[in-house]
């Protein structure tokens, strides 16, 4: 292994851990909140099962405005909110707040798009069999959209990794922050290159696993 990696082994492992932590929390919120939000975005649309213009417009506006923030500004803008719920705006845990919020907005939009691809007739058949909205979601909608939901999450996770690299501004750490502080600011270009290679490998792995899983789930 190159000397420079051995020399900074501890910091590198720690920064990878921070990245995993930040991205992990993002994924958690994307699935726990982004998935339901995206589902409601779909169901409340005009002509859909829970058609509700007010709910749709509100969710749509929230998702759009969150996504239209340049991410760096969103992080700064959310500092008071972060301080309110975490107690501090600095550190890795504090960094997960803006990441979770962008994760929800990002994934909910992809969920909505995936669900729009489910053939309408399948939902109609479900209604004709007497399915409730909850049953339609779990037994039809998610089953039919599952591979597309997985591909969307894969895309989202890769974006979360990218977002997490700038969390250095609030002391969030992570691989990106490490690469900037040591590689760029201390002119250790080789170190920065290695960090980029680690990120590339990470993204490749995630993309490959996501695609493999999606393909396996897709029986259409």
């Amino acid at each position: 292994m190159p000397d420079v990696l051995v020399q900074y082994q501890g910091e590198i492992i720690q920064s990878i851990g921070e990245t995993f932590y930040m991205v992990g929390v993002s994924i958690l919120f994307a699935v726990l909140i982004g998935l339901p939000v995206g589902t409601f975005l779909f169901l409340c649309r005009k002509g859909q099962l829970l058609e509700n213009q007010a709910v749709f417009s509100t969710l749509n506006l929230l998702v759009n405005s969150t996504r239209s923030f340049p991410f760096l500004l969103l992080v700064v803008f959310l500092i008071p909110f972060t301080r309110l719920i975490i107690g501090t705006a600095i550190g890795t845990t504090a960094a997960t707040v803006p990441l979770a919020i962008i994760a929800i907005a990002h994934y909910s939009r992809l969920v909505e798009q995936s669900l729009l691809d489910v053939p309408r007739g399948v939902l109609e058949a479900a209604v004709s069999m007497g399915a409730s909205v909850r049953e339609i979601i779990t037994k039809f909608l998610y089953v039919e959209a599952r591979s597309s939901l997985v591909m969307g999450l894969t895309t989202s996770i890769i974006s979360f990794i990218s977002y997490s690299t700038i969390m250095g501004v609030v002391g969030g750490g992570g691989i990106g922050d490490f690469a900037i502080r040591y590689g760029y600011q201390q002119f250790k270009t080789d170190l920065m290159t290695y960090m980029i290679i680690i990120m590339v490998i990470l993204v490749q792995l995630i993309q490959f696993s996501g695609m493999t899983l999606a393909r396996w789930l897709d029986k259409r």
């Binding site: 007497g130 399915a131 259409r220």
Partner: protein, 247 residues
């Protein structure tokens, strides 16, 4: 069995169904035919309230659907099967699970579900296909799975929206035979909407002709029986030239 009273359905300024009253007797194979845009599908889709009529009443099996709560309506729908032109199977579920989901929705006892699925698949002649996905089946087989799914909960009525319109003549005959069988052996009342004259002619015991949202005429009809079309090359030549090949 089905009693539709003065129902009207508008889409904006367009009147799709205009004050239609219709009674479908128990045990019938009832055909609804008409030009495209006549309102056939809309009329059928109001029989399980997939479309809500703007006015009028829909009675199925003595229940007034238009007066039911949404929960009550969901319950009644479990006794009204429906099949569609494009089958609408869940592509990510196996044939078995496609049929089984109807049983799950109806809270059918879990331990009896697989046996019931097998029974229904057997009825439509697809017991060997239980582990396949819809993408691996032919159109006629998909429609038979849809029929098995609709039959699973022992409905008293089966609504068929253009059930054979995306099938070739051979598989059309196959599906019609299954529908006729269901009617005769299980006593299920069947309503078929179709623009295909042969479909109506072959199995329907009564017919309504729709025109621009009105009933043009309703009458009883003697089914002609299902003709299985030939598929040999000689048959095609004979049909096209109008004479047997070696005549």
């Amino acid at each position: 069995m089905i009693d539709v009273q003065h129902i009207t359905k508008r889409y904006g300024a367009f009147i799709a169904i205009d004050d239609v009253t219709l009674t479908i007797p128990k045990g019938a194979i009832y055909g609804i035919i008409g030009a495209s845009g006549a309102g056939k599908s809309t009329l059928l889709r109001m029989m399980n309230l997939l479309e809500k009529p703007d006015s009028g009443r829909v009675n199925v099996g003595g229940q007034n659907l238009t007066a039911l709560s949404s929960k009550g309506l969901r319950e009644v729908r479990k006794s009204i099967g429906m099949i569609f032109q494009h089958f609408h199977l869940v592509a990510n579920k196996t044939v078995r699970d496609n049929v089984r989901v109807a049983l799950e929705l109806a809270r059918y006892p879990k331990r009896d579900q697989l046996a019931r699925v097998q029974e229904c698949l057997q009825f439509v002649g697809l017991q060997e296909m239980a582990d396949k996905y819809p993408a691996e089946l032919s159109g006629g087989q998909k429609q038979r799975v849809a029929i098995a799914r609709a039959l699973a909960t022992n409905p008293s009525v089966l609504l068929c929206d253009e059930p054979t319109s995306s099938l070739d003549p051979q598989t059309t005959a196959e599906v019609l035979a299954v529908l006729k069988d269901i009617n005769e052996r299980l006593g299920i009342t069947i309503v078929i909407v179709s623009h295909e004259m042969d479909v109506i002619k072959s199995i329907c015991t009564a017919v309504t002709v729709l025109e621009n949202g009105h009933i043009y005429e309703s009458f009883t009809h003697e089914p002609h029986g299902i003709k299985t079309p030939g598929s040999s090359s000689a048959y095609f030549v004979e049909q096209l030239k109008g004479v047997p090949r070696d005549a």
